[in-house]
């Protein structure tokens, strides 16, 4: 289609490298800012308690086969009997927790802060890139692409004769935005900003309902087939000890 373009080395020194470095640094900055702004709200005792109960029930379910049948039945009754089991939720209280969460202003505030710490740097960087670097080719992707990708990769260049593998600076910004996620997870550890967004997505629908998960856990515990797995462990212990002695 078009022969190779000759790009000025000044573009590399003053656009490509600075843009990438700035993207990385802004990611790091955003991580630390969101870490600073994270308010440590005092959690509700009831919700914590329900969460712990769920974890205990889950542990019981996971380790069910390692305890004798009698012990398992006793524990299951403790968790899920219909009168005063820990996982039993009375009918009337189910809506209560959700309403409480809606009325809690701290939570909405926290989410808004997280949201802002995501959106503001992105808007600023995009404006910066747009203002300084718009309208020329900054990079070239080393593999051919179809015409379909032109609007994605040559955002800001209105020429139809340039080969699609050339990338405008604005699109280089977008490539960085998506591609650096892996690097951030390496240099910032597990709980970086991108993970925060996923968590926020889950929380924002108020899909987290403790009483519902209590009920689900109770059902799960009820259908566990108990089968004691350790009748032969005495023999094994004997064998190991014999080996040690001899």
């Amino acid at each position: 289609m078009a022969e190779d373009l000759v790009l000025d080395t000044a573009i590399r020194d003053w656009v490509l490298i600075p843009l990438s470095v700035v993207m990385v640094l802004i990611g790091v900055l955003r991580y630390f800012v969101s870490k600073l702004m994270r308010s440590s709200q005092s959690p509700d005792a009831k919700i914590i308690k329900e969460g712990q109960v769920i974890i205990r029930a889950r542990n019981l379910r996971a380790g069910a086969n390692f305890i004798p049948p009698k012990s398992f039945r006793a524990r299951r009754a403790y968790f899920s009997n219909e009168e005063n089991g820990l996982l039993f939720v009375p009918k009337g209280q189910a809506q209560n927790a959700q309403a409480q969460m809606f009325s809690d202003p701290n939570m909405a505030m926290d989410m808004m802060k997280k949201n802002l710490s995501m959106i503001i740097p992105q808007t600023l960087t995009f404006a910066w890139v747009n203002f300084f670097f718009s309208g020329f080719v900054a990079a070239k992707i080393p593999f051919p692409l179809t015409q379909r990708f032109r609007s994605m990769l040559q955002n800001g260049i209105d020429l139809s004769t340039v080969d699609v593998s050339y990338v405008s600076s604005r699109s280089w910004y977008f490539l960085n935005l998506f591609g650096l996620r892996g690097l951030f997870s390496l240099i910032l550890g597990e709980e970086n900003a991108t993970d925060d967004t996923q968590r926020m997505m889950q929380m924002s629908g108020f899909g987290f309902d403790p009483s519902k998960s209590l009920g689900a856990e109770k059902d799960g515990l009820d259908i566990v087939q108990h089968e004691w797995a350790l009748p032969k462990f005495e023999q094994r212990a004997e064998a190991v000890l014999k080996k040690l002695v001899s």
Binding site: I17, S20, I141, P142, G182, S185, K232, R236, K243
Partner: protein, 120 residues
């Protein structure tokens, strides 16, 4: 002698019984998965740089990516001492998981180093 034989046999039997059990610690398992994810990301970034510096284009680069991922899988298997089942619940974990997750990072760093070295 007989006692020795007996203990060996019973040990074998009971160890078979143990191997039948699905004994997993979910947290450790998740940690192993995280290690796999990290090593794949790291390898894809490094591989992207290498591919760009060597000047691979189009299909060659993607073949190189798959090669890098295969090497990573083999390396992880060697790190696990070729006994996958004491660390993971299936072979898919070590071979397939996160295979395409590093592609975006790979392409980014491939483009970056290729541009810096070759096109200007």
């Amino acid at each position: 002698m007989a006692g020795h034989d007996d203990s060996g046999a019973s040990e074998k039997k009971s160890s078979e019984a143990i191997n039948d059990l699905p004994t997993f610690n979910a947290e450790n398992m998740q940690n192993n998965m995280r290690v796999i994810y990290y090593s794949r990301t790291f390898m894809s970034i490094i591989g992207g740089f290498i591919a760009g510096i060597w000047g691979f284009t189009s299909l060659m680069g993607f073949i190189f990516y798959f090669l890098i991922m295969a090497i990573t899988s083999v390396g992880l298997t060697a790190k696990a001492g070729f006994t996958i089942h004491s660390y993971f619940d299936s072979w898919n974990r070590i071979i397939l998981d996160g295979f395409l997750g590093g592609l975006m990072s790979f392409v980014l760093f491939w483009t970056f180093s290729y541009d810096i070295v070759h096109i200007f």
